[in-house]
Subunit: 469 residues, 2 copies
């Protein structure tokens, strides 16, 4: 911890800072307990850590002024979008000011002919797609929550369509960023590709607010496909489902979505989403995008592959409302799992990502591990990417059960890393996986530290996340 | 220029360094003039700048030992693959040691089931595809030259297939990098996606050897499509050709290649590549990948769009040998242009990239500019990405003509930047475009400098390139 951060922890907000923020934002700066409580906890199992104040910025200029004021006092700044991160990213571990960007909700520009747009950081993915509805374009990246696009960029989010359209890494063209001293930069121009200088766009994508505050995001858009069909298919076991996915990807079939749900996860999602027409078993949710003929061809090929692995019939959701219901249920996976927790239980939502050839093995070993321990976790995954989620439901106030759950989690991460995989495919490091990052990349983490120190020498940007300095 | 670099420029290599490199590499370290001359010039118009010595490394360990030895003496290190960069990237502007990685030519691993591989940095794109031939897989990124994959990563290369498969940015999964002090890091694991820490992979992709030496590259691979068809089509004018491309991209047709050649460029390429069957006019070279039915459908749609813009008939190259001849001719574009230069002429090869909606306007204005000046340049472009090349043929020893050519170039870059584009889509900054980078990204360049200083405090890694410190 830097000296400035140490100092900040031990003393409340300086009066001069409070006065400056009040002058800047009026009642959009507050130290009210309820607001601080709302901002100081994540959606997952992490212990709450409240900021000393919350500042609501409505523009890049305001965000820059807040950061500059905090920098002058060595006070931490925690950027905040919708608060839906799962690894404790928004906890104010060392107090300071949470900078809430939800008021930055304007779509600044859409260029249909270039298929791109620029939005303020607080615009959520659903808001953007709603806005785009009349243009024939859409933005594909879809983590479960209706997260803000700034937050999605900051955590390098991905989702069900990443197998076809890529993650935030591939779909952010440029960012406006407030640096740790309040300066504002634009990371790139709007061209589709560039070889001009270091790739600052991708340095900030996934930096989890530790290098600066993302205030505007320029995004690639895609044409809404001429035809879309979704299907649900049940398999004799998880391995058959995973092997189907591997074969589909290897055959180069451009499947748009390919989601794996084990029997436990399928039951939770169907119960919560009121999907009563499907078999409760190890399942794939799929979607095909393309021309009418293209979609028919893809569907036929995938059905043939699935049949080879003993799959049941495909249940088709062709109508828009049926598809929406299906994917809403999938996107609500985390909430469906939370809904099954007893009052004394919490959910540890984690994810890993492995080379796809090791996916079945990684899931099966982990499933055996959790069953042997007598705990419950559904397995839900973006199988085409080799990425899956485990959500361990346990009483984390019970020391023994808490240890059991954390040991399972620990073995999962090490299993994935031993398979040349990563400790997180999409949730990020946050405060929950700092030690795993060190184990995963060793000396490379020292390079990350050097970058962090260079861009945030006072360690005020979301301190305590991602790296131990 | 740092003090260490100043010192290095003024004195020859220290004897202790020479002795250390000789002990390490034997006759793979040399100060022979012919070898230094070979390494000290680019393929373009830049003035040669020789290194004081050339070290050939055959492994990451050797490369690390060379860098460590140079770092100990504050001597510059210039990484070198095939020497085909176009912006003076390999010039030894401050002397030092050129680290030639061409001996690192081993394919380390191919995992067909994960569709990825790891290669040493000196493996060229053609070598890799030759190696992959029996696996049914290929690596798509294809700059004109048969460049090394390490060099392609270092310059964030792209090519004719980027519109469909992405550039190096999208296709590098992980890198092994020797840092400026000789430490070796692995930037990421082999998983398809990861949210673990800063995206060091993409920080080093496109860093042009200024942050470290890339010694191994892990790459995404793709299945060779079931069907491939290529076509050449002539248009009434350049604008019609560009508008066809824009419409194709907007319709979401997954065209695999879509190359624009103006009449001048078409003539040069056909003459050099002995393609005598095509009309010499403003032209698109296209390729379609997919299933038999998919390719037929794509081709039909593109033909209909082209016809709307007054195009002539498509000439199909369906046979593999005809397609190879076509794309070899296209890839040899730079050499075709060089072949038309008179003995006192050189070629300034440059590229810019703009939002695709501005592409026609940008090319037409630039064409008018060069014609008004009485110079010659073909226009060849990766039109689907909004990226095009201009190769100004001129007598650069004639002061007036030199100024004329540079002024045209200057206006081109500013025109592209005024259209929200970038000063380089794929060639990079090197030593030729340093000032343009500053104009393009302003304060963001200061962030790049901070990163450079943090990772290479002695400024020994390819000094004088990309940034003015």
């Amino acid at each position: 911890m830097s000296l400035a951060a140490e100092a900040a922890k031990e003393q409340p907000l300086p009066n001069t800072l409070k006065a400056a923020l009040t002058e800047l934002l009026g009642d959009r700066f507050t130290t009210a307990t309820s607001v601080r409580e709302h901002h100081g906890k994540g959606e997952a199992y992490h212990t709450a850590a409240l900021p000393d104040g919350v500042a609501y910025a409505n523009s890049t200029e305001e965000a820059a002024a807040v950061v500059k004021a905090c920098a002058g006092h060595g006070i931490p700044v925690i950027p905040y979008g919708t608060g839906t991160a799962l690894e404790g990213h928004t906890l104010a571990l060392r107090g300071g000011i949470t900078l809430d960007l939800s008021g930055m909700d304007q779509v600044i520009r859409v260029s249909p002919e270039d298929m791109d747009c620029t939005v303020q950081a607080g615009v959520t993915r659903n808001q953007l797609n709603e806005y785009l509805r009349d243009t024939g374009l859409f933005f594909p990246v879809d983590p479960g929550a209706d997260a803000s696009l700034g937050g999605m960029a900051a955590t390098r989010a991905s989702g069900t369509t990443t197998v076809r359209y890529g993650a935030m890494r591939e779909n952010v063209l440029a960012l406006t960023v407030v640096l740790a001293d309040g300066r504002v930069i634009q990371t790139a121009r709007r061209a589709r590709k560039s070889a001009a200088g270091y790739d600052l766009t991708r340095l900030f994508v996934g930096s989890e607010g530790t290098l600066g505050v993302i205030t505007e995001v320029t995004l690639r858009l895609y044409g809404i496909p001429e035809a879309t069909r979704a299907a649900v298919c049940s398999f004799p076991d998880l391995e058959a489902a995973v092997n189907t996915v591997i074969t589909v990807v290897q055959c180069g079939i451009p499947i748009a979505r390919c989601e794996l749900l084990d029997k436990t996860g399928m039951k939770m999602i169907c119960d919560y989403g009121k999907l009563d027409e499907y078999t409760i078993g190890d399942t794939l949710f799929m979607e095909f995008h393309g021309s009418e003929a293209g979609v028919a061809e893809q569907a036929e090929m995938v059905q043939a592959i699935a049949a080879d692995y003993g799959a049941g019939d495909f249940k088709w959701a062709t109508k828009l409302e049926d598809r929406n219901k299906l994917w809403e249920a999938r996107h609500n996976g985390h909430y469906a799992i939370l809904a099954t927790a007893k009052p004394d239980q919490h959910v540890m939502a984690t994810d890993v990502c492995v080379p796809v050839s090791r996916l079945a093995e990684c899931i099966m070993e982990t499933k055996a591990d959790i069953e042997a321990c007598g705990l419950v976790s559904p397995f839900i995954g973006h199988a085409g990417d080799g990425n899956f989620h485990m959500s361990i439901i346990a009483n984390y106030d019970d020391a023994a059960e808490n240890k059991l759950a954390h040991d399972i989690h620990d073995r999962l991460v090490h299993r994935a890393q031993d398979m040349e995989g990563t400790c997180t495919g999409e949730h990020g490091i946050g405060s929950g996986k700092i030690d795993y990052l060190e184990e995963e990349l060793g000396a490379a983490v020292e390079v990350m530290r050097a970058v962090k120190r260079a861009l945030d020498p006072g360690d005020i940007m979301n301190p305590g996340k991602m790296l131990r300095l």
